[in-house]
């Protein structure tokens, strides 16, 4: 098990890091994808503290009607943090591509969704003159549990040195709602085979990992 952390101290360090890097780049606005899961929730809370809620734009980017409970949790969190937020359905751009590849595996579809979310974030980032904040944690980065040029694409990645278990400690400290803290980790790329809060089961339990292909 990774060591437990002093979450208040880690918060102080990460908030200072975000402020420093934004100041160095001469940017005020941070953008991030808010999935309704744990990592992006912690990231949004850190960004709101570091930059001020009005300088954070959270994009909620569901694929069609998938995972409505995650969308609901993401919206509730965005309101609670007081950050700017928008919901953008990525189904049209994903479906347009796969119309020509109807037999594509769900891994391909999942990676494509992650990259479409990236393209939306970066498009909006240029409009806002902001920086995209990555939400990957150290566990994911170490084992390659992410989509290259998808959810791994960012300008700054404040939680890249926190293991998943430590992100969970941060979530408690930052008062992320229990509905989000209790979720099973998922990439939100496709529905779970059976039950679950949505999406594939956590790492090391079941399911395929998306890979940087």
């Amino acid at each position: 098990m990774p060591p437990k952390i002093d979450a208040a101290f880690a918060e102080k360090v990460l908030v200072a890091f975000l402020r420093d890097e934004f100041a160095r780049c001469g940017r005020r606005t941070g953008l991030l994808g808010l999935s309704g899961g744990l990592d992006s929730a912690v990231c949004a809370a850190l960004a709101a503290r570091a930059l001020g809620p009005k300088n954070v734009l959270a994009l909620i980017m569901p694929y069609g009607k998938a995972f409505p409970e995650d969308v609901r949790d993401a919206l509730a969190l965005a309101r609670r943090l007081g950050v700017r937020h928008e919901t953008i359905d990525i189904a049209p751009q994903v479906d347009a591509y796969f119309a020509a590849h109807p037999k594509a595996t769900r891994l391909r579809r999942g990676n494509k969704m992650a990259r479409e979310r990236m393209s939306v974030l970066y498009d909006r980032s240029s409009v806002e003159g902001g920086l995209v904040i990555g939400t990957s944690n150290k566990t994911e980065l170490l084992i390659g549990y992410g989509t290259i040029y998808g959810d791994m694409a960012c300008a700054i990645n404040p939680m890249g040195d926190l293991y998943k278990t430590q992100v969970r400690e941060m979530a408690r400290h930052l008062r992320v709602p229990a509905a989000i803290r209790g979720k099973i980790p998922t990439a939100g790329l496709w529905p779970a085979r059976r039950g679950g809060a949505g999406g594939r089961r956590s790492l090391g339990r079941t399911g395929e990992a998306p890979c940087g292909s």
Partner: protein, 284 residues
């Protein structure tokens, strides 16, 4: 006398801006009656320089920016971290700390131990120093160290053997490990070393560190002063900037050496003979 430690975040690669910051902090420290102001490692340049090293390197004897800074030390002393390139060593760049007293550079220490592992790349860009040399300054006999030098206890030993009253370490130490205690785990490592060195050397140990972030790395701050015998007398906050001012009395050095006798009973010649034998054996 008073020792001030300027704990701040230098701007990477911006020597002019950092000189201005040093001048401001010197003026503030002067107002607080400081006799010695200690700035962090590479305070004039920032730490993660890589290929910028050669562009920010300067000759302290000639560089007008450095001379301007030196001139501002009239009536007091300062330790300043910078990249040195001297005419005698053209094309070689040293991670250096200068001791400036009353407008004049009286000593330059070139960092001997260049960390080059993990996130550290110093030996790729810097030449290593070859010497630890204590010297007499208006504030007492001083031994300078730069960051990693301090973690090699032979370095402090040499200053102890040379009779240093003050062992001054300037650092750009990142913080790692957030397991608890509202501090980085690495900060406790430096403090442990400070405590131990002040105990065994019966000297004051002055440790300056920077704050701020560079390329995802957070510098830990937490500057401190230990009085002889392992007594911590001041500590700056972790992570946040500060201008720490701490009264220091060299009578404490005398008192510690009278009491503990490590200095009186030290036998550098025995250490020297042993080291010579070890070094010779390693060459065979």
């Amino acid at each position: 006398m008073n020792i001030a430690i300027a704990q701040f975040a230098p701007r990477l690669g911006e020597v002019e801006a950092n000189v201005e910051r040093h001048l401001d902090l010197l003026a503030s420290a002067r107002k607080k009656k400081a006799d010695l102001v200690v700035f962090p490692e590479l305070g004039l340049t920032g730490y993660t320089l890589k290929d910028l090293v050669e562009e920010v390197a300067l000759d302290p004897a000639k560089d007008p920016r450095f001379r301007r800074l030196a001139a501002a030390t009239k009536g007091l002393s300062a330790v300043v971290g910078f990249v040195e390139e001297s005419p005698a060593d053209r094309g070689l760049f040293y991670n250096a700390a200068a001791f400036i007293a009353d407008g004049r550079v009286i000593h330059v220490h070139r960092k001997v131990y260049l960390p080059t592992n993990g996130m550290f790349e110093e030996a790729k860009f810097f030449a290593p120093g070859r010497d630890f040399r204590a010297f007499d300054a208006p504030v007492g006999r001083v031994g300078l160290l730069v960051c990693r030098d301090f973690l090699h206890y032979g370095a402090s030993y040499v200053h102890h053997a040379a009779g240093a009253d003050l062992i001054v370490c300037v650092s750009a130490a990142p913080g790692r490990g957030v397991e608890g205690g509202s501090a980085f785990a690495t900060s406790r490592m430096w403090e442990l070393m400070g405590e131990a060195v002040s105990l065994f050397s019966t000297a004051y140990v002055v440790y300056a560190n920077r704050v701020g972030t560079e390329d995802g790395v957070t510098f830990a701050g937490g500057a401190f002063v230990f009085a002889p015998g392992g007594r911590r007398v001041a500590r700056a906050p972790y992570v946040d900037p500060d201008l720490l001012v701490c009264p220091v009395d060299l009578a404490d050095v005398r008192e510690a050496r009278r009491k503990w006798l490590f200095k009186r009973d030290e036998r550098p010649e025995a250490v020297w003979r042993s080291l010579e034998r070890i070094v010779r054996a390693s060459e065979d």
